[in-house]
Symmetry: C2
Subunit: 284 residues, 2 copies
């Protein structure tokens, strides 16, 4: 089945879903995105995603493409028109179409908006989670505003591909000795006392929505959390490690640069957190 996309006011089959070559997203990576889950007809943490999207737009001095209510209507349309139940909705907003010029286009240039939806299965990564995944470490050479969820993702792609090249699922990015986050996920370890450790929010990392929910699940499960930077050596010496993202949920990490973490199997804390997270998503 051909999927239907939303492109600047129209719904179009994917093969006709096109944007101008002068879209500033295409020529300059001048835009932002969000990936939202729709579980059992409900938008999972819709407010969190939209609040972050509005922040990204504000930080880049872009106008919102439409209201929250209108966005939710388009999301609903996309899910319906594509015959989906549980879905992953991708939202991309760029600073519109204008003759190529580094400076911002005239203020009345409309923000461009593209959205797609595809099937998502909350249990789809269970088999992988049962085995755990490997991560490698890579230098964090991204720009200084990783907190903005921009489409300027080239360093992330290169890190992710470097991971894939050696059969790993993710690359953990290392700056000044500390693991900041993964190329498309947040990075966590469980220390020898059973407490979670993850990089604090700031310009260095994207404030992940799944990260926030995982923090909240941890509080509910009375698991202690330290929001502080951790080193690669600490991670290798940790009891457990895992990553969080909208598509991976909570995913156990069993090796770092090929060396086993803990006993080399998915850890109990990560698996408990994963279950708690899924339960919440279902009850949202």
């Amino acid at each position: 089945m051909t999927m239907i996309a939303y492109v600047n006011g129209s719904y179009a089959p994917m093969r006709d879903a096109q944007v101008s070559i002068e879209d500033r997203g295409y020529q300059f990576s001048d835009g932002i995105y969000e990936v939202c889950l729709c579980i059992a007809g409900r938008y999972w943490d819709f407010d969190g995603h939209l609040t972050r999207m509005e922040r990204s737009l504000r930080e880049l001095r872009m106008d919102a493409p439409m209201s929250r209510d209108a966005l939710q209507i388009v999301m609903g349309q996309l899910v319906r028109r594509n015959g989906l139940k549980d879905a992953l909705v991708y939202i991309q907003a760029t600073r519109g179409v204008a003759p190529r010029n580094h400076v911002f286009p005239p203020a009345d240039t409309p923000t461009a908006l593209v959205m797609t939806a595809k099937r998502f299965d909350l249990d789809g990564s269970d088999a992988i989670a049962a085995k755990g995944v490997g991560v490698i470490t890579q230098p964090d050479i991204r720009w200084g505003r990783a907190d903005i969820k921009s489409i300027s993702l080239l360093p992330n792609l290169l890190a992710k591909q470097a991971a894939k090249d050696v059969g790993a699922a993710e690359a953990w990015l290392v700056r000044d000795g500390a693991v900041t986050e993964g190329s498309s996920s947040n990075a966590w370890i469980v220390d020898r006392d059973g407490a979670l450790v993850t990089h604090p929010k700031g310009f260095e990392i994207l404030g992940g929505i799944t990260r926030e929910t995982a923090l909240s699940c941890a509080a509910e499960l009375q698991i202690k959390v330290h929001e502080r930077a951790f080193t690669v050596a600490e991670a290798r010496d940790a009891s457990e490690a895992f990553i969080t993202s909208a598509t991976n949920l909570v995913m156990p990490v069993i090796t770092i640069d090929g060396a086993p973490v803990g006993n080399g199997a998915p850890g109990p804390v990560a698996l408990r957190l994963r279950e708690a997270y899924k339960l919440r998503a279902r009850q949202a």
Copy 2:
């Protein structure tokens, strides 16, 4: 007149010049570009641009979209079909169209190629050069591979706009106290001994083609050059300052963060270099 663009094998009027929303350039800034000048029917430093383009592609592990000869044919077609004489040709290559996924698409995914051309006047910036321009300084928060001419340009846009906001023409990017380069140009000063100073090549700056030609013109004019990093304080204390880029050629800088450089007027060294550069472009 509607301009004609080249888009993945076809020539199309600009309003129909579109790419898929799944072009990795649009979703990930996974691509590179070049801006070449065609002066009096000849491609000015074509080999330099193509060599750099091939290097950018190689560094990102992308396949060349077509041969140099084929590229030159398309460039010629674009100049002709748009009725241009002296032209600025924009070339953008991306890692093709594929369902959104950070890892590289299958190896047989064709590199996507878009090219446009517009009128260029070698004397077009003379009036501005006669007065000189102002630059401001901004923190260099770009990623660690500024030497790759990628379309991942968001920090460059923000710096350029910050300059425009205060009536300046360019932002000089400062990392660890040193001026690396401008947001879309290379940065130069003339020291008290009349020698040129500009940041050496490396991961921190784009090896500008105009920069290379300016170096060669300087050698011809027997002007000494130091390829080394310089500080903002040095720049403020310099005799002259200027920027180089394909569109600006050699452009005198008369203020840095509002403070005059030298006597606050375009300097003789910059103007001599500009003339030498234009002469070469005409004789190429």
